[in-house]
């Protein structure tokens, strides 16, 4: 396109498969959380009613939640990003401890340490909610005291996951370019340099251009 550093160019951040997985997970997760609020809060439950319908939507959205995450594994780019999220480096630890982590002195890869931790907690909480939800829904699976334990774990995990999702959404609303990356798959090189410098170096190396 142009010679020299491509300051104004866009970089590919997420392939279509990743964007579709994200969109589907967001819809299912949102459905789970909204129906969870109805099922948990007494005054909302009594105003909305129709417990069996709300419960059925909640249970099937929850069971469907891991499906896009698993189908996504067919995409090599998705698998590679999962590996990036999985790995934690010493500069991730420094990034977490640093007060000036947004200053650009600590090289940040495709995902920063906060995004990695969010991904782990969401994945773990989703698994826990799926397992405990199954024990609560199919009441014949385990004895009553374990069902009470499953309810206990489900309640607190749901609360924690709800807060994580709210935090994730707040960060997204503050950063239109990050949202564009997830919507269109592309981000500006300028944004990539500011937020994910090490990743920008990896995918946008001017010296490789003719």
């Amino acid at each position: 396109m142009s010679e020299g550093p491509k300051v104004g160019a866009d970089l590919d951040r997420f392939v279509r498969a990743e964007r579709v997985v994200h969109r589907l997970v967001a819809i299912l997760m949102g459905t789970c959380l909204v129906t969870a609020v109805i099922l948990y809060n007494g005054s909302i439950m009594l105003a909305v009613g129709h417990r069996h319908l709300v419960e059925t939507i909640h249970v099937w959205s929850g069971l469907a939640l891991p499906v896009p995450m698993l189908v996504g594994l067919a995409s090599a780019a998705y698998r590679f990003d999962l590996r990036r999220l999985n790995r934690f480096t010493s500069s991730d630890w420094s990034w977490l401890r640093s007060r000036s982590r947004r200053g650009g002195t600590i090289p940040v890869g495709k995902f920063n340490a906060g995004q990695k931790i969010n991904a782990w907690l969401v994945a773990g909480a989703t698994g826990v909610l799926l397992g405990t939800g199954a024990l609560m829904y199919w009441t014949g699976l385990v004895r009553l005291s374990w069902r009470s334990g499953a309810t206990f774990v489900h309640d607190w995990s749901a609360l924690a996951l709800g807060l994580l999702v709210i935090g994730h959404t707040v960060y997204a609303f503050r950063d239109p370019e990050a949202r564009r990356g997830m919507r269109t798959g592309r981000v500006s090189a300028r944004w990539a340099r500011a937020e994910h410098a090490a990743w920008a170096d990896e995918v946008d190396r001017p010296e490789l251009d003719p």
Partner: protein, 228 residues
């Protein structure tokens, strides 16, 4: 594409750790919940904001309704019909029910999905007494409780309905049963899961069978005896 990312696989460890913690929580959660509940009860009783009721802290009530909003009934508009295969069908007003002998006891409310509320005091009229007065026919097998929400129903065998802890509850925690808890009149069936305790009770129908009620028809056990 670059070679594999650097760093330790902390993500996998955290996810597996959370799953393990969840499993431990399933096994021990019942005891932790009981402990938390006794620790938090004083806080929740004196919480002026009501915020503690929004989150699942301790053993708290969860309110179920299977229809849209239910219109409330008071002493003037309430009535309970006992009918079906009986020699003496009857309709009771709230005052009629209050005039009958009352049974009181304190019990743990136990939902089939696992949540519970300990130490709930109830009082009301034994269903056995109402059945006795109605004189079920010899071919009667069960009863079907109906709700003025227009949809909910619960089945019991005659023997189950005659248990001494199955009552037409008029008070809860020493006060009239509130609308949110299924008042002015609901069933409380102590030895059975919560779904057996029909809220907004309006009808006791003596039946020739034990056909499944609302939740029984949707997969919950036909008998609903706690721990069975």
């Amino acid at each position: 594409m670059a070679a594999g990312p650097e760093g330790a696989p902390v993500g996998r460890r955290v996810v597996l750790g959370l799953l393990g913690l969840g499993a431990v929580g399933v096994v021990t959660g019942s005891r932790i919940q009981a402990w938390l509940s006794s620790a938090l009860a004083p806080v929740q009783l004196h919480d002026p904001t009501g915020l503690s009721g929004l989150v699942p802290l301790g053993d708290t009530w969860r309110y179920y309704s299977v229809t849209g909003p239910v219109a409330s009934r008071d002493a003037a508009s309430y009535s309970l019909e006992v009918s079906g295969l009986v020699g003496r069908p009857a309709t009771y007003s709230l005052a009629d029910l209050q005039a009958l002998p009352q049974t009181s006891f304190t019990d743990t409310f136990q939902c089939v999905t696992g949540w519970r509320v300990p130490d709930v005091s109830w009082s009301g009229v034994r269903v056995a007494d109402l059945l006795e007065a109605a004189a079920p026919a010899t071919d009667a097998v069960g009863v079907r409780f109906g709700s003025f929400d227009g949809t909910y129903s619960v089945n019991m065998t005659l023997d189950q309905a005659r248990r001494s802890d199955v009552i037409v509850a008029l008070t809860m925690y020493g006060k009239p049963v509130t609308h949110a808890h299924g008042g002015p009149v609901r069933i409380y069936s102590g030895s059975m899961y919560g779904y057996k305790s029909t809220k907004w009770l309006s009808k006791i129908d003596v039946t020739p069978n034990n056909r499944p009620g609302y939740w029984e028809d949707r997969g919950y056990p036909l008998n609903g005896i706690i721990g069975e």
